[in-house]
């Protein structure tokens, strides 16, 4: 026995035959609900048939392509890509400029460098040197110097011990001692010669030997960070 839904479907699909068809059509004529149900079935089936036999999928592909092309034209894309690259670079450049500006103000030009712990190699000396680094960077220059003096005694040719030792006097504003120590290093050919020259010039300015300071600063080439600091200090003095 077919259900009402099966009969409706068979009727729409043209599969009801003979007496079954006649009986269904009689029922339709007398049952408005069944008639409404059939009408709705036909409408829905017609919609399904139209939609499923359309080219909507292909159309959507073309619409998507057109929208993508419209939203990201090649030219704009390139310029946007360029902006994406340039904006961080410009932002970084601005930060660098600001940092440079503040780092090169007059007060910072006289600041001591950070004593780098990784400079020294050699397991035997590492512990003592690290203590010196800690003292130096915490501005305990006397304690740092005590250790550096011991290290210099054990290795009299080590210029970096002597360089930081000289700077401990600079940190204590003992200008005469710092100048005496730094002059030796600045006259030498070690990797600390340029740094020593700079801090020697700074120490000279503190003792009103501006002329000597200027002469030293002019010797420092301005192709790196130290050179830029020297130029800045030079301009301040001039």
């Amino acid at each position: 026995m077919k259900t009402s839904e099966e009969k409706i479907q068979d009727y729409i699909d043209g599969l009801l035959k003979g007496e079954e068809l006649i009986a269904f059509e009689q029922e339709l004529a007398t049952d408005p609900q069944l008639s409404e149900q059939l009408k709705l079935h036909k409408e829905v089936q017609s919609i399904l048939a139209r939609r499923m036999n359309s080219s909507e999928h292909e159309l959507r592909t073309h619409l998507h392509e057109a929208a993508t092309a419209h939203r990201r034209p090649e030219g704009n894309n390139k310029s946007k890509s360029l902006y994406r690259i340039l904006i961080p670079i410009l932002a970084a450049a601005c930060i660098v400029v600001v940092v440079k500006f503040f780092s090169n103000t007059s007060s910072t030009l006289y600041q001591l460098p950070v004593m780098e712990s990784e400079i020294v190699r050699g397991a035997g000396e590492a512990g003592e040197y690290e203590d010196a680094v800690t003292f130096f960077n915490s501005q305990s220059f006397g304690q740092a110097r005590e250790i550096l003096d011991q290290l210099i005694n054990s290795d009299t040719l080590n210029v970096q011990y002597k360089y930081y030792q000289a700077l401990t006097y600079y940190g204590e504003e003992n200008w005469s001692e710092s100048i005496a120590k730094l002059e030796v290093i600045a006259d030498g050919e070690s990797v600390f010669a340029r740094e020593a020259t700079y801090y020697l010039a700074a120490a000279y300015t503190k003792t009103n030997k501006t002329g000597q300071a200027i002469l030293l600063l002019q010797q420092i080439k301005s192709d790196d960070e130290l050179g830029r600091k020297a130029n800045k200090l030079l301009k301040d003095l001039q």
Binding site: H41, R60, L63, H70
Partner: protein
């Protein structure tokens, strides 16, 4: 025939060059309108795409004839779709200002609205189809797109009689969902 009827033909024929022209000439305005009315740029492009699909069906199935410019027509379709989207999202209540946005001005606009309403009703049927089980969806899709149901039954590994039975069950399920839908039974105006 309105000079802008060609835009409907572009969609009906899936003409990629013509579709590019539609985007070039109208996308900016449509997106701006959506953005102005609480939407985003992505909303704008989504609404535009769905509106163009609707217009495709109007052109294909109804041989719809433009009585106004394509721009006005497209704007109207997009406005209706955006209002429906807002209602669906329940992001905003329909206020007088938004009703003004969708104000229908004349008889031709009413005709357009009726055509759009029919397409939206069809969209709803297709959305309800997607809520059926996968097996039902497959049976209905194949029965609508393939001629020989005996072959469908064979490829599905079922008898022809069982396929007929399942098809009527699946269609009955879909019909009941359609009847229950507020858009279809008139509880909600399009």
């Amino acid at each position: 025939m309105h000079v802008d009827q060609r835009y409907l033909a572009y969609l009906k024929n899936n003409d990629r060059t013509g579709i590019d022209k539609i985007y070039k000439n109208y996308a900016k305005k449509i997106v701006a309108m959506i953005v102005y009315n609480s939407g985003t740029e992505d909303d704008g492009y989504d609404i535009l795409q769905e509106a163009l699909v609707d217009i495709y069906y109007m052109a294909k199935d109804k041989d719809f004839q433009l009585t106004t410019s394509f721009e006005n027509f497209l704007l109207m379709v997009c406005k209706r779709k955006w209002l429906n989207a807002l209602k669906k999202k329940q992001q905003i209540q329909v206020t007088k200002s938004t009703e003004d946005l969708f104000h229908i001005e004349d008889e031709s606009a009413k005709e357009i609205a009726e055509s759009v309403q029919q397409v939206e009703k069809e969209n709803m049927v297709m959305q309800l189809l997607d809520t059926l089980g996968e097996r039902c969806q497959e049976i209905i899709r194949r029965c609508m797109t393939e001629k020989h149901q005996e072959q469908i039954a064979e490829s599905l590994g079922i008898t022809y009689a069982y396929l007929r039975k399942k098809k009527s069950e699946c269609m009955a399920n879909l019909i009941s969902k359609v009847k229950a839908h507020p858009y279809f039974n008139g509880d909600i105006d399009f």
